[in-house]
Symmetry: C2
Subunit: 414 residues, 2 copies
């Protein structure tokens, strides 16, 4: 048997015991893991130094080096993250509903863990600790397949937290890290039907596409966000400018950042010069439709590819539209169903936008940057689903669960 | 463009308009469809006669002929089924939750249709009307791919209800039947990512396996049930016998019928002769483990394959177990995660069974036959999910929906 399959089977064997742990037992495991991270910080930093050195020798980009780098503060952040998850409610403690049937059967709809969660991710070693915390708290065994760039860091983190966790009651085998970072190990994990219950890819568009295309295990697709902001004719233009600047510039590399600006043509001659100046002051490159460029000739002309591209960078494409219908049609054509916003003072247009736009999160008069587990109040997040099945939008602990029907009778037959 | 792709795209284009229909509009469409079925009964029966004749010429089995056959009563039943779905609550009318964040953002979690639902099924023409009713009521466009055996019946049914529906406000294109019943058309439907949002196979194990293996569109796996009943040492033996006989014999061809009986060895010498006699009176073939056969020598010896087989027939395999642990271990090994039951008077054993068995529905002191949308009180059912993602157990209208977050602000930025 291959190592990947054997590790996943070990996780599956540990899953039933983990699923039955009580909240206080799971919280104690997370606290022990947090303490271990702090205690083992030097060992983890040493391992991380190996990864950084190898990355430097390969000529890795500065941005990638930053994602890969651990510091004492970042390790303290990982430990605090585990403690924060420990403080969250146990999702498997919840009954979702309960009712009695006319024949006396009592039906309870109860949250239960999914079983074995597979997570495929890239260079950020902090994902390792985050994912373990969320899986343990939700009662799921997990199989982690991180990127080769961070493998020494990931091994050191797992060594630290699994040793501490098992000493504190974590079922042996419940947390697995696949040390083989070849493409083959990742492909094998995607095909372990009947062993792995769900696969969550975390990373760039290429990784996610590869998992969706190659997995036969059910996948929760995360992350691509070609988010639009539509500024209506009736918008409060100061509010609109603040929202656009925030949604584009506060963190351009993330999936809930705005990538496109649609502006009603009635206000474009007033609004565009104003917002464009604010965006340029933040070093945003602007590309415009023909009509938009006619208003602000400094904009580069946008190409067809611009309308469908998630830049993840300080670039924004701008289009004027004749009315709400044209804005809705443009969004319907180019949306990645992540987050879409309207700025308007018209209740009619706000309601139409909220009802008709098909996305995980639809906003009126707020920045798309709020599509986030923390900002929604979930306390933690394993990713943002852009699919419609099982979970949509920010996924917290509840989205890492399934349910079962518990039925109590006293001899009912049919 | 192929016909299948074009039909699915037409459904996708109609989906947004259908999603926005109000409950009373959808209910009127369903009522018009019900009336059309009754009015067009002769035409539908004529088409069905063609299917039956072709089936007879192919030498189709009696059971299959029965599934294929329509009568005036069955058509009346289909019409009444549509009216029943019309009377159910509109699942997309529901807000699942709502809260305000400290920054003033109001977040509403709202049910919305999935979009385009694909249904692949076999010879039962009544599935055509059922599926359309459930999809229309939940606001989903649908693409139906029924079996070749029923194609004339399906075309006549769709012709009747779509004409009536469109005259009453059903968006054009929202209901599609694929007339090409080749394997290629089914394979193509399974690969229409980005057009079809979910695929639900309805039928035998072979069909379901083929869809799970070949689809890249998300699938909700339905149906296979290797259901166990465990009779504990403390069981009320009369209740236990009634439950076993009901679960095995009331409708042996369905997925919630019992296929295996586990009996605590302390009561097996008393219980087995009694229940076996009752089962034999209903023409059940009994196969036993070595110890079970030692108690009742008339049982055939069960083979290893018996423990994993869903018979869908009047066959039951029986095994004695030393204790609850052995029963739980046997179920964990052979369960298809559908429905599992314990008969016991021990509260401790009941709770352990309910907590530890991993299935869509777990029962104490009731027949597994209750795992059914009607019996659970959902009013209708599109199938029974045996997977853990999105939906588990009987799927009613709610399970044909997704959700979206509707976020209202007044200028919030991050």
């Amino acid at each position: 048997m291959s190592d990947v399959r054997e590790q996943a089977l070990n996780a599956k064997m540990a899953a039933p015991e983990l699923a039955l742990l009580r909240r206080n037992e799971k919280d104690m495991i997370l606290e022990a893991m947090a303490q271990a991270l702090l205690r083992d910080a030097r060992v983890i930093l040493q391992a991380n130094a190996n990864d950084l050195q190898a990355a430097q020798q390969r000529g890795t980009s500065k941005a990638m080096m930053d994602r890969l780098r651990l510091t004492e503060e970042r390790i303290a952040g990982m430990a605090e993250g585990m403690r924060k998850v420990a403080r969250l409610e146990d999702p498997t403690s919840q009954s979702l509903a309960g009712w009695q049937r006319p024949n006396g059967l009592r039906i309870e709809k109860r949250r239960v863990p999914l079983g074995v969660v597979g997570i495929i991710y890239e260079a950020r070693p902090n994902v390792t600790a985050d994912a373990v915390a969320l899986c343990v708290k939700s009662g799921n065994a997990c199989v982690l397949r991180g990127g080769s760039e961070a493998i020494h860091s990931n091994i050191a983190i797992i060594q630290s937290i699994v040793t501490a966790g098992e000493a504190c009651g974590l079922p042996k085998g419940a947390v697995q890290l696949i040390a083989d970072t070849s493409r083959a190990s990742s492909m094998e994990l995607m095909q372990l039907n009947g062993i792995v219950d769900v696969l969550i890819p975390r990373g760039g568009a290429g990784l996610i596409r590869s998992v969706v295309e190659n997995a036969s295990v059910p996948v929760i697709e995360t992350g691509v966000g070609n988010c639009h902001i539509y500024v209506d004719a009736s918008a409060d233009l100061e509010m609109a400018a603040a929202i656009v600047v925030n949604a584009k510039c506060s963190r351009p590399s993330v999936c809930n950042a705005a990538e496109k600006l649609l502006v009603h043509e009635a206000i474009a001659p007033v609004f565009l010069p104003k917002v464009n100046a604010m965006l340029r002051a933040k070093e945003v490159t602007l590309r415009g439709s023909e009509q938009a460029c006619a208003i602000d000739a400094q904009m580069e002309p946008a190409k067809e590819a611009d309308w469908e591209t998630e830049y993840n960078d300080l670039i924004l494409s701008v289009k004027t539209v004749a009315n709400l219908d044209e804005a809705l049609a443009h969004i319907a054509r180019y949306t990645t169903h992540h987050s879409e916003a309207i700025v308007t003072e018209s209740i009619e247009n706000a309601e139409r936008f909220l009802n008709e736009v098909d996305a995980a999160a639809v906003y009126v008069n707020a920045s798309t940057r709020f599509t986030d587990g923390e900002e929604f109040g979930f306390g933690a997040e394993i990713g943002i689903s852009t699919q419609k099945l099982h979970a949509r939008g920010p996924m917290g602990l509840n989205e890492l669960t399934s349910m079962k029907y518990v039925v109590r009778g006293n001899g009912q037959i049919r």
